[in-house]
């Protein structure tokens, strides 16, 4: 873990990531049991501060914290002092003055948690910042892949969709590269700037979905983030689905045991066909389930064992 909090995958070492994944594996079996509540974080207070809408991440973080016995407070930007014109820094300083043990935050501005971490002592856990990073998503994706494969090294992972706006793509890229996977990024050129090649020599770019899927072990689909586009980057949703929507026939080209992933929310008929979303090797709901184990691991390592 970083000195304070979890801001992104980029600055984590491979060992630190492995440590989180190992702890997450320890928490995985707990999810299927009744009587799940532990007292690992009893007496700790965690604030969940969401400036962007979220269903799965927010619920997942809250459940993770509660299953570890922490007290949680949840704040949406709507109905908070952000509506009264308070700056982000002032809001965070105010919350920090109430001495929470951690602040989990999501914000639409890339780097907002990095900016705050420079100013605050309270550990910040990034639950997604703009188009920058979404570290716990990449961790739960890795955990899900490892449910199906012994190791990430040498795997061919295709990430397909609105790459330029995707914090999920960036965090996954950082993680997969660190573990020796080969990553193929695919999307229409306006959503796939060639600068992504700068991440690592093991990143390949293609504008052709068939090429991306060929021999893939993992197919990771991304939603088109229309809300982050200044001007339309593509002609229409129909045209997008025609060239970049994942359909059953595409899967012939992948490895026979390839899995299909999606960070959600999914848009059936836009980036993924209904048949693919529901097909047996789609692990979208496993990802959701693993999200809790991963977030429990992060909170545990960050708050229960301050030496880390």
């Amino acid at each position: 873990m970083q000195r304070r909090g979890l801001l992104g995958i980029e600055s984590l070492s491979r060992e630190q990531i492995q440590q989180i994944l190992d702890r997450a594996k320890f928490y995985q079996p707990l999810q299927a049991r009744t009587g799940k509540k532990l007292d690992t974080l009893r007496g700790k207070t965690i604030i969940h501060l969401f400036y962007e809408s979220s269903t799965r991440t927010r619920t997942s973080f809250e459940i993770a914290a509660k299953r570890l016995g922490a007290d949680t407070i949840s704040i949406s930007a709507k109905g908070s002092s952000a509506d009264k014109g308070e700056s982000l820094l002032d809001t965070l300083n105010t919350l920090a003055a109430m001495r929470p043990d951690a602040i989990v935050m999501r914000h639409s501005a890339s780097g907002a948690p990095n900016f705050l971490a420079r100013m605050l002592e309270t550990p910040i856990i990034n639950a997604g910042d703009g188009s920058h990073e979404h570290p716990t998503q990449a961790l739960l994706d890795a955990l899900t892949i490892l449910d199906h494969r012994p190791s990430l090294a040498g795997l061919r992972v295709a990430i397909i969709g609105d790459i330029v706006h995707s914090r999920v793509a960036r965090s996954n890229l950082h993680l997969l590269i660190k573990f020796g996977a080969e990553v193929v990024l695919c999307g229409p050129p306006p959503m796939l700037p060639r600068e992504f090649e700068c991440f690592s020599p093991s990143v390949k770019l293609t504008f052709n979905i068939e090429e991306a899927i060929a021999d893939a072990d993992v197919i990771m689909m991304l939603r088109v983030q229309f809300e982050r586009q200044n001007a339309p980057l593509i002609p229409s949703e129909n045209e997008y689905f025609r060239f970049y929507g994942l359909r059953l026939e595409h899967l012939q080209a992948a490895r026979p045991d390839a899995i299909v992933m999606h960070p959600g929310p999914i848009n059936r008929g836009r980036e993924i066909s209904s048949e693919v979303a529901d097909f047996p090797r789609s692990v979208i709901l496993t990802q959701v389930e693993n999200g809790i184990a991963v977030r429990m691991a992060v909170l545990d390592l960050l708050l229960a064992e301050p030496r880390l």
Partner: protein, 434 residues
Amino acid sequence: MIEPNNSAGNLLIRNGRVIDPSQGLDALADVLVKQGRVAKIQPNISAADVTVLDASGMIVAPGFIDLHCHLREPGREHAETIESGGRAAAAGGFTSVLTMPNTRPVNDNIAVTQYIIQTAHDRSPVNVFPVGAISENSRGERLAPIGAMREAGIVAISDDGMPVMNSNVMRQAMSYASRFGLVVMDHCEDLDLTAGGQMHQGGNAVRMGLLGIPSSSEDVMVSRDILLAAETGAKFHVAHLSTAEALGMVRRAKERGLTVTCEVTPHHFTLSDEDIRDYDTNYKMKPPLRSPADRDALVQGIADGTVDAIATDHAPHAGSDKMQEFDLAPFGITGLETALGLALDRLLHRGHITLTRLIELFSVNPARIAGLDRGTLKVGSVADVTVFDPDRRWTFDVNHTFSRSRNTPFHGYSLRGAPTATIVAGNIVWQAEK
């Protein structure tokens, strides 16, 4: 002028190395100033009833002129005033500054022009020459009263920060400005190409998840304006040029004999997009810090003469405005007090330019571009003089800035070379602490 610490502009600057490219002068000499004008330059002048400034080991140059700064008054006095900005300019070795018209209200009429000139006269230690707006309210629709503002004292026109997007309006502005001999300065930015952009479109922007500002957004406008200048015969000046491509266009325009000039800022010849770390908004400005290749091309352009001037684009913003998410923070950094130090450290001492060339960039050429009777120490001219020590080692501490704002990436920079005295019309308006 405030606090003249010697009377009537009578001054003897002794034992300095006087470098004045406007008259091919580079010699150890004294400079005698009488009643605010240069009276004599020769060794061992003796004079009675004058203030004496010892310039031993120093360079004595015609006063430095910043073609591009924002003093924020009227309208945003919490970020800067003509007085505080003027003091920062003096402490940076500048004897004159040109102020951009994007004040509140915009300097698009003679009332604002006169307010700036009067306030500067009352409160600024250095000369302040206003730049008038090209269009009303800098909306890029109807031309501002350029001729009347010229008579009121503007020395150039620009819609800095709100560039004229309508090519026909720009064409009319160039055509009309040429009647008054005014240079048209353009902040070359295609606003559609930069919409939402936060930093240079490159690997670091992609990594940081920030929307990019492509080089083409600057290049298409520089290209457009050169074509319009060729057609209208206007004097056209590219403000804060930042890309290698645009530099090449200016080079070719000069080869064609067009009156096209350009300026480069210290931050663009010093930094690149790879220096932006941790979403520090002190690295956020327009045009953005470009690639290392662009930066190197700018240094080359400064060395080979393509670049005419170094200008600061001093853009103060109050701390509360910059202490925000990167997406929300305004563009711009301060620069008056670090410009000369950076130029000496990064350009002179790294062997890219000579002292003579540096003085052309800071004084002779800016005066020529803006049509000012400055930038020279010829006998009879106004005694605006910059005295600097090319070797003094110092560290810039923003806590000691004269500006009301602190938005600079250069806090803590250790530099070799600094101004030591700033003289306006024979009066010492600023002097470094011993």
